[in-house]
Symmetry: C2
Subunit: 340 residues, 2 copies
């Protein structure tokens, strides 16, 4: 009884603190991003850059960098430049990917290439990469600068390879779950890993800490993306359209797994239709959803991302605990409990 | 008499040596580029990368890096990684610029976005930047690595700003010669400067050497670009179409200067037509050429680039002379004497 009460007290104590810290870090990151975007020249680049930053985002990556630095007993505030440099790289990938995917909207607002044009979007992305590199260079005096630069370079290469595979897989028919997981770990997990690693290097982590946080980031990245696919079919967020991925023909975990498991002629026909037409009409979403549910793939996906989240917790729990490891776990909980 | 004979002998001695060295460096650079392109994954990126490298180029930038390292008594062979990293950045700008300019051809062959598509070209450019960064990282143990990285970052930012201005100036009517020179020094001069600076840092140049070689690169960049504009109207290379820039509506040095100098109603009308229609029909090239010649702009351009070339020589001559300063001057001569 006593124990439980203490748990509750502890929780009450931690929760607001986490939210306060999140808010504090978030504001620092936003200020840095706006300062950079507003000082960009020429004007033809400044305007879309500011627009992009105004369009928001949870700033998960730089927050992870800061918390990781703290988790290995470094100073989280020293991790701002490297974290924000990765956030800018992340936004660069969004701007360029939106052109490739011909996406008209992002977070409900026009994408850069829609509001301006392809040239502006291509060039803004390129410029943002240069600006991200210059920001990272502000940590040049850090003893681990070479590692920070290496993480930046490698994650740029890997994220491009992930996007190349994504484009390839849009055409290819025979993608299995491993191909898919490899592709999303390159596209999504890679930058999460980079965020955590940069925090490690800023905080002068030892090899064991680096290994554990790397494992953590790998699990978190996969959990996050599989959950994303899952939420597309189950989200109860008002206003969000269920099954958008099915309409857009995205070969998500759910689709690939269903293709592997489908046995009846009818089921196979529906899946083949999805593959042949690169997606289904809106009025067929429910049929596909029924199929995915019937094959147990929805449950399988949920089990899978929950187990990756558990792995993520486990890795963090193996670290020497401090306030930042606690906050990382809170952040994971927040991510896991998201509804969209 | 004696002196002249010696001059001739010296020239005979130098010329083949320069060509041999150029060939040796060129082959080393090509091998490195092919090795990198051929090892690129996935295949959807490897193929256009190899195609791009096969399509050639003089590799002026990495050769300048190697010769600059030698000019400050460093080892030119140590400058290969940094030089090639800039060559890859240069090629990245070509791939992305060709999309923005909707250019179907480069060096007589289809551009990447024409032969494949915009997505491949955008992504290949992005990936190439990451690969260039990884290549530069191979010099991480060099005592001046931070300077090398800084040169890379800054030149990426500047080249993007130059391209942004170029896109802006395509629409803007009132560009003066200074705007134009600022834009081309960002687009072209900047990467030449970066090549020379990287050579300086590889060769552990002192401040005076850096300053002289920086001045040299500034002059060379401007000379090179104004000559490029000039050759578009005067080239006697068989097969090259005279006045392509006029048809494409490029606001070159020649056009901007003619606009400033034109006084008669007739002259002003032709220039206004060029500005309003973003270029002229093929059958009007000769009229524009006559106008440019009459206003003395052709001679002015020639004087201008020749004087920048002279400045470039002068800067090199202020350095302590060695075989590499001689070769840099030979390279400048080769560039100056080009016919297209």
């Amino acid at each position: 009884m006593r124990g439980r009460e203490e748990n509750v007290k502890q929780k009450k104590k931690i929760m607001p603190e986490f939210k306060d810290i999140y808010k504090e870090y978030f504001d620092l990151i936003q200020n840095k991003l706006f300062e950079i975007a507003e000082n960009t020249k020429p004007n033809s680049m400044k305007e879309p850059f500011v627009y992009l930053i105004e369009n928001g985002g949870k700033r998960l990556r730089p927050i992870l960098t800061m918390l990781s630095a703290g988790a290995v007993n470094g100073n989280p505030l020293e991790a701002i430049n490297s974290g924000v440099s990765l956030e800018i790289m992340h936004n660069f990938t969004l701007v360029h990917d939106d052109i490739m995917d011909s996406s008209p909207l992002r977070r409900g607002k026009e994408t850069v290439h829609t509001k301006w044009d392809n040239s502006v979007a291509i060039l803004l992305g390129d410029l943002m990469l240069g600006i991200a590199l210059q920001l990272l260079m502000q940590d040049a005096k850090h003893q681990n600068f070479i590692n920070l630069q290496e993480v930046f370079n490698d994650s740029l290469v890997v994220v491009c390879k992930g996007q190349a595979l994504d484009v390839e897989y849009n055409i290819k028919q025979d993608i299995n779950v491993d191909d898919y997981l490899d592709m999303i770990s390159k596209k999504t997990g890679n930058l999460i890993k980079a965020s955590v690693l940069m925090g490690c290097y800023i905080g002068n982590a030892n090899d064991k800490e680096i290994k554990l946080l790397e494992e953590f980031s790998y699990s978190l990245g996969l959990a996050f993306q599989i959950q994303d696919d899952y939420l597309d079919l189950t989200s109860d967020d008002t206003g969000k359209i269920i099954g958008q991925d099915i309409v857009e023909g995205k070969k998500t975990f759910m689709i690939i797994r269903s293709k592997e498991l489908a046995e009846s002629k009818e089921d196979k026909e529906l899946i083949n239709k999805f593959y042949q037409n690169n997606g289904l009409q809106r009025d067929e979403i429910q049929n596909m959803l029924n199929l995915i549910t019937k094959l147990g793939v929805l449950d399988e996906a949920k089990d899978k991302f929950e187990s990756y989240y558990q792995n993520a917790y486990d890795s963090i729990n193996k670290l020497k605990q401090n306030e930042y490891t606690t906050m990382i776990k809170e952040l994971v909980k927040l991510t896991k409990n998201r509804k969209f």
